[in-house]
Amino acid sequence: MTLQILWFVLWGVLWAAYFMLDGFDLGAGMLYGILGRNDAERAAIRRTLGPVWDGNEVWLITAGGATFAAFPAVYASMFSFLYLALLLVLFALIFRGVALEFRAKGQGPAWAKTWDISLMIASLALTLLLGVAFGNIFRGLPFDAQGYHGTFLSLLNPYGLLTGLLFVALFSVQGALWIGLKTEGELGRRAVKTAGALWYALAILAVAFLAASYFATDLAANYLRHPVWLIVPVLAVAGLAAVKIWAGREKANLAFAASSATVVLTTFTGIVGLFPNLIPSRSDPVSSLTAFNSSSSPTTLTVMTVAALVFVPVVIAYQVWVYRVFRHKTVVGEKPDSLDY
């Protein structure tokens, strides 16, 4: 029981960590061709992502692996129910990664353009798909003891799409602030300004999302039962306000910290509302996959807890250290000291 709750929380933590970290990669990827007005600026944006994007993506693989190990039935259902959506997620992940790795390794305008466009489209598509997938999980999927009754198109319901747009707005603010935080001069200032402008869209979508969640999902039930948890969405909103205030004062580092907190708190707004469900069923609530009916055995959860306690702090330590090594701002036009010539 305790272990199941612990792993439910860790499941949320892993997704939140992934959204927070890859959120800025994806946001910067979406805005890459818009904020980067010339080759030098685009190279600078890529250079802010180069050292860290791969390590960030592993949080997704870990979230997937942990779901598999701790909640096998959830893993099996989520991935097979959302088959085509996940296929597109895979393709987006592939093109995002390849674009970042190969863009600087070829020559000629056609090569550059191909990977620039694929970086932007893949980042946008991945963000949208993740949002749509989570929106549908918040809303509940149509399945019962007989199986799954939805299709790819049924995922594109208004609430799912709204969550998708919320993710796009959230990550693009996160990404713009990252660029603002990590690049010198004109590009950095423009990025922070853009984040401030995008913030309005994010604020509108956030309000719409909270309202729609009340009507279209059961997320509110936990909050009505235990109002103390309202602290999570309240802090998310506070974080959102702080983003605007600090972006307005051109404090990119504080605005980025606030935006990161907003991503985590927004994720947990959903996770708290879901508990104990990991995937609620909208056709038959009894079939819902919960932390209690779909978890692994106590033995496995114990082994996994020990593994997490040993490895996760180490991972966090060296990732923080690598971020510190690359803490300096990138100067537009500066010759990189990497293998990418």
Binding site: R47, G50, P51, V52, W53, D54, G55, E57, V58, I61, T62, G64, G65, A66, F68, A69, A70, P72, A73, Y75, A76, S77, F79, S80, Y83, L84, L86, L87, V89, L90, F91, L93, I94, G97, V98, E101, F102, K105, G106, F143, G147, Y148, S296, S297, T299, T300, V303, M304, A307, F311, V315, Y318, Q319, V322, V325, F326, D337, S338, L339, D340
Partner: protein, 439 residues
């Protein structure tokens, strides 16, 4: 085709494609880290150019290994949901640990390695190279312990309608998993060694930066020779393990139909599955198979007829893949030995024909590793988990054949594009050669 056949085909295609990149990563990460070690120790700038040249080829390959690897994790849930549900309790743990213990390590430090040349000290940079090498090899260990469990399930109990973990220690000390691990990583070292020898041979033929490429060649030849010999040894260990734990696979690998004590080994052989016999069987080595499989001349080897027809793996692909793999394995020992001898005596440039052979030998270890996986996985059929779960019981129920057709076509197109880009970039940078020495 039905969902099952399509999903099997898709898994085969995506796994074999992923495994074009993995073995080179496993071996080249070590070679590059070693080159950088030489640089840090000697301060000789040639080793730096060498590290950067091979490092760049490593990175192109590494990127594709990463992006095609995610597909493998996703597919367990997407196409094999019943399998994931049934065995996730024990099979999921090594996968999750692989991500936490190994993927983070390689992915975080590869970023430091690529972008950190002037950001950290030489020694810290070198440490990053070794951590990448360690991380990639550690990830192989965890995924192969998972595969080892599918070949030889241990440490579980059937409870609550699924296979639940009972003994994690048994899972991580599973002899099958460990022999698969050693055999697989060593095959990767051989791939990398022949890659480095082949590309070096190309530049030696062109008389381009001869010193640098002679040193590269010699390093790779020694690495390749040691690995190829150990590879043969671990292959023998694999054979013994298969004989003991997967007798039907062994029978298919050897196309042995009748159970025999003191089973001979025909050098020329061709299976005739329909008539449950071999259409060709000649040049028999007496007791050869018994000796090979059990290290005992009189040992009894089970024939395929001892298994019901629906529990026999497809014979021809298993048999043929095994034979070719073993033949290639022997060739690698020979070639690596010749290469090592010549480079030691500094006679490489006097043998252009041999250099050309090394250049064209680059694909051979790739072929051998792919064939090895065909032996391992096709030979396991019809089981998904040997003796515990049939492949046909593991496929997703929520997925339609139309969806798998779409995904299979999608993978074919996307992977086709990736293959073209990969070959283009690798050839481009391999041909271009390292930076000229600065004066």
């Amino acid at each position: 085709m039905d969902v099952l056949s399509l999903s099997r085909l898709q898994f085969a295609v995506t796994a074999l494609f992923h495994f074009i990149f993995v073995p080179l990563t496993l071996g080249l990460s070590i070679l590059v880290a070693w080159m950088e070690t030489r640089y840090v120790r000697t301060g000789d700038e040639m080793y730096l150019r060498m590290t950067k040249f091979w490092g760049k080829l490593f990175l192109i390959n590494f990127a594709l290994g990463v992006v095609t690897g995610i597909t493998m994790e996703f597919q367990f849930g997407m196409n094999w949901a019943e399998y994931s549900k049934y065995v996730g309790d024990i099979f999921g743990a090594p996968l999750a640990i692989e991500a936490t213990a190994a993927f983070f390590l390689e992915s975080t430090f590869i970023g430091l390695w690529v972008f950190g040349w002037t950001k950290v000290s030489k020694k810290v940079h070198l440490l990053a190279a070794w951590l990448v090498a360690f991380g990639t090899n550690l990830s192989a260990l965890w995924i192969l312990l998972a595969n080892g469990w599918m070949q030889n399930p241990v440490g579980y109990v059937l409870r609550n309608g699924r296979a639940e973990m009972d003994d994690f220690g048994a899972l991580i000390t599973n002899g099958t998993g460990w022999t698969i691990f050693f055999h697989t990583v060593l095959s990767g070292y051989v791939v990398a060694a022949f890659f480095v020898m082949g590309v070096s041979a190309y530049h030696l033929l062109k008389k381009n930066q001869a010193t640098l490429f002679k040193v590269s060649f010699r390093t790779a030849a020694l690495f390749g020779l040691v690995s190829a010999v150990l590879l043969a040894f671990t292959g023998d260990q694999r054979g013994i393990d298969v004989a003991k734990r997967q007798p039907a696979k062994l029978a298919a690998m050897e196309s042995l139909w009748e159970t025999k004590s003191g089973a001979p080994m025909p050098l020329l052989q061709w299976p005739d599955e329909k008539n449950e016999r071999n259409s060709v069987e000649a040049l028999k080595i007496p007791n050869g198979l018994s000796l090979l499989a059990f290290h005992k001349a009189s040992a009894e080897v089970k024939g395929l007829k001892d298994f019901p027809p629906d529990e026999r793996p497809p014979v021809l692909p298993t048999f043929l893949s095994f034979r070719i793999m073993v033949g290639l394995g022997a060739l690698f020992v020979l070639l690596a030995f010749v290469g090592w001898l010549l480079s030691r005596k500094d006679k490489l440039e006097t043998k252009p024909l041999l250099l050309r052979i090394f250049l064209y030998a680059i694909p051979l270890p790739y072929i051998a590793t792919e064939l090895g996986w065909i032996v391992a996985e096709v030979g396991r059929q019809p089981w998904l988990v040997y003796g515990l779960m049939k492949t046909s019981d593991g496929v997703s129920r929520a997925v339609s054949s139309g969806q798998v057709v779409v995904s299979l076509l999608g993978f074919t197109v996307v992977y086709g594009v990736l293959a073209v880009v990969d070959v283009f970039l690798l050839t481009k940078y391999a041909r271009k050669g390292p930076q000229e020495a600065s004066r």
